[in-house]
């Protein structure tokens, strides 16, 4: 017993010396060295390739959308460019300044007696923040990311990133074929890679705001086109957009409500559900597809709660199920930025909410 207490005290001393408090040490997850998007909470084999999973500590840090070397434990501004920091998921390890070969998931002490330093490594899909003030989507291939910007009238740009949200290598960028459509049925305009290879650009008609356009992109020579729908309420400024969080009401758009659905009687729950529906519709209309999942998934929880409280109404099953399915579809399509599919899912969603409201009113 005494030995165990002593060992705990020693460990605590080491952890404190490493600059990490006991409460800050993130738990261990398990990931595949070849497929970093495979994550589990216990040791095992990779579900994709069967390799042994390896331990990793995942933490949320604040980083600069442009200067990826900046890591802070709290929100703030980048020390290099003063941009607002954004959150990203990173893998935390410890290393020694004099020996980069050291890379372990436990804090410790270097051979020279100095405490190990924390090191943060990016994770695939750990950063979905726009880097140029635009609109950020994940591609359906679950590997690429893209960001569209509308920096000036008639000028549309697309930045393409890898799975770590880093700019695509020039050799890979040259394999991309992209075009932009401002109205279906009209001819598309090619998006051309600029000489530096940092983005693709097209000159299009000067559209009134909110400017809507669709990028159609093949990421490789044999890949089929993926569709990304953009709606720019204003011209993009090369400052990071806020992370998907409540939108300012000063702009007149609806503000997503707090996460927890309300408890209470059925009428109050239906009222909350209608509020979420309004938020979904507002986000769909404004093109803020990446934020759709918040009110959509809150709405399906409310619908299930309404169904549970109104247990003597089997007719509720059909609209509740429609709300559940369309909420998950809005979540999926919102990440992909496919406006057509989003609109279809939101129509189904709204119709189901109306049907549920009608049935509840008849009780």
């Amino acid at each position: 017993m005494k030995a165990r207490v002593l060992a705990m005290l020693l460990a605590a001393a080491v952890i404190a010396a490493a600059g990490v408090s006991a409460a800050q040490l993130a738990p261990i997850s398990w990931t595949c060295p070849m497929h970093p998007d495979v994550l589990d909470d216990r040791k095992g084999k990779c579900s994709v390739c069967g390799m042994d999973l390896e331990p990793v500590r995942l933490v949320t840090v604040w980083t600069c959308p442009v200067h990826g070397v900046i890591f802070e434990p709290e929100p703030g501004k980048c020390r290099i460019c003063s941009r607002q920091l954004v959150t990203a998921t990173m893998a935390l390890t410890w290393t020694c300044a004099g020996n980069k070969q050291v890379n372990q998931i436990e804090p410790g002490v270097c051979p020279d007696g100095s405490p190990m330093a924390a090191k943060y490594s990016p994770r695939p899909h750990g950063d979905h923040n726009p880097k140029h003030g635009g609109i950020f989507f994940m591609a359906p291939d679950n590997w690429h990311h893209i960001e569209g910007t509308y920096p000036a009238p008639g000028r549309f740009r697309v930045f393409i990133y890898d799975e770590f949200s880093k700019p695509l290598a020039l050799s890979k960028a040259r394999q991309v074929r992209a075009r932009v459509v401002t109205k279906e049925g009209l001819a598309s305009t090619p998006l051309l890679l600029v000489r530096s290879g940092t983005f693709f650009e097209a000159r299009i008609d000067q559209l009134p705001l909110p400017a809507q356009m669709t990028a159609k992109i093949s990421f490789g020579p044999d890949d089929k086109e993926s569709r990304f729908d953009f709606a720019f309420p204003s011209y993009s400024k090369d400052q990071p957009a806020p992370s998907p969080a409540p939108v300012s009401t000063s702009s007149g758009r609806a503000q997503p409500s707090p996460a927890a659905p309300a408890e209470g009687d059925v009428a109050a729950l239906v009222s909350e559900l209608k509020t979420r529906e309004a938020e979904v519709n507002s986000l769909v209309k404004s093109g803020a597809f990446g934020s759709l999942y918040v009110p959509a998934l809150q709405a399906k929880d409310l619908a299930l709660e309404i169904q549970a409280k109104a247990a003597n109404q089997p007719a509720l099953e059909s609209p509740v199920k429609q709300i559940v399915v369309s909420a998950y579809l809005l979540d999926s399509y919102g990440d992909l930025g496919d406006r057509e599919k989003i609109h279809e899912a939101s129509r189904t969603f709204s119709a189901a909410v109306s049907a549920l409201e009608t049935l509840v009113a008849r009780r």
């Binding site: 705990m8 020693l10 080491v14 738990p27 994550l39 436990e106 399906k300 299930l304 998950y328």
Partner: protein, 257 residues
């Protein structure tokens, strides 16, 4: 003070399991396979999605089920009915009859890191059940010889016939199929040929979560000299690609008393 690195690391590793911390980013679902998802799979899917069943994978163990999480999400969120793979829409209908709450559990689990849950609640293995669901039929008609599906075939439709050796006409009110190799028997069209007339369809048997014979309403009159026809649609899943398969299914007829 000099501290032995491995000993410290071991202590830290031990300590880390005791420290409170936020849930790691991979697992976000509040549902686990063992406690919440398995009972749904057993009751809604386990007849077909069991080892040796007609489904392309078993869902009745965590190791079998969790790699299919994304496929499950896509299938359960699919809004189309009939497809080229499923022209009559039977599979679509079977896959989408879960109530809203169960659907939410599966989708939340599949998209939220597919946590396994408490190992103490891990389900026991479930074996395929392949038996007459309505008791022994009065007339059992096995295939005359086993059908051999070649290794390079993934799909085949075979027609089998049985001249009915009946001394008098009898009324059949149900007909069932007992697959010889359930993994490849996808559906069976049943017809009755009487005299020189074109065969009359009796119905289509498909594997279901709650298997039951095909009810013949009104009952079918089986005349002496008539012929029962079964067109069996065989289909291999990816598991059996490149393998020879054999089937000797049996058709069962139930007569009105």
């Amino acid at each position: 003070m000099k501290i032995a690195g491995p000993a410290v690391a071991a202590v830290c590793a031990t300590l880390s399991f005791w420290l409170p911390g936020e849930a790691h980013k991979g697992i976000t679902s509040k549902f686990t396979y063992n406690a919440d998802v398995y009972p749904i799979f057993l009751n809604r899917c386990g007849h077909c999605h069991v080892a040796g069943g007609v489904g392309p994978m078993s869902l009745l163990s965590y190791e079998d089920a969790f790699p299919w999480a994304e496929s499950l999400r896509a299938e359960l969120l699919e809004t189309e009915g009939a497809t080229a793979d499923d022209p009559a829409g039977f599979i679509a209908a079977a896959h989408r009859n879960a109530p809203a709450r169960e659907l939410d559990v599966i989708l939340d689990w599949a998209g939220g890191g597919t946590p396994e849950g408490d190992p103490a609640m891990a389900p026991r293995p479930v074996a395929l059940r392949n038996e007459w669901t309505h008791g022994e039929p009065q007339l059992a008609l096995p295939l005359g010889a086993p059908y051999q599906m070649p290794p390079d075939a993934m799909e085949a439709i075979q027609e089998f016939t049985w001249p009915l050796a009946l001394s008098t006409a009898r009324e059949a009110n149900a007909i069932d199929v007992l697959p010889g190799t359930p993994a490849i028997v996808r559906e069976v069209d049943l017809l009755l040929r009487t005299g020189t007339a074109a065969p009359r369809p009796l119905g289509t048997w498909i594997p279901k979560q709650n298997p039951a014979p095909l009810v013949l309403s009104p009952p079918a009159r089986l005349e002496p000299g008539s012929t029962l026809v079964a067109r069996v649609h065989y289909r291999k899943t990816w598991k059996y690609e490149g393998q020879p398969m054999t089937d000797r299914s049996t058709i069962g007829v139930y007569f009105l008393r």
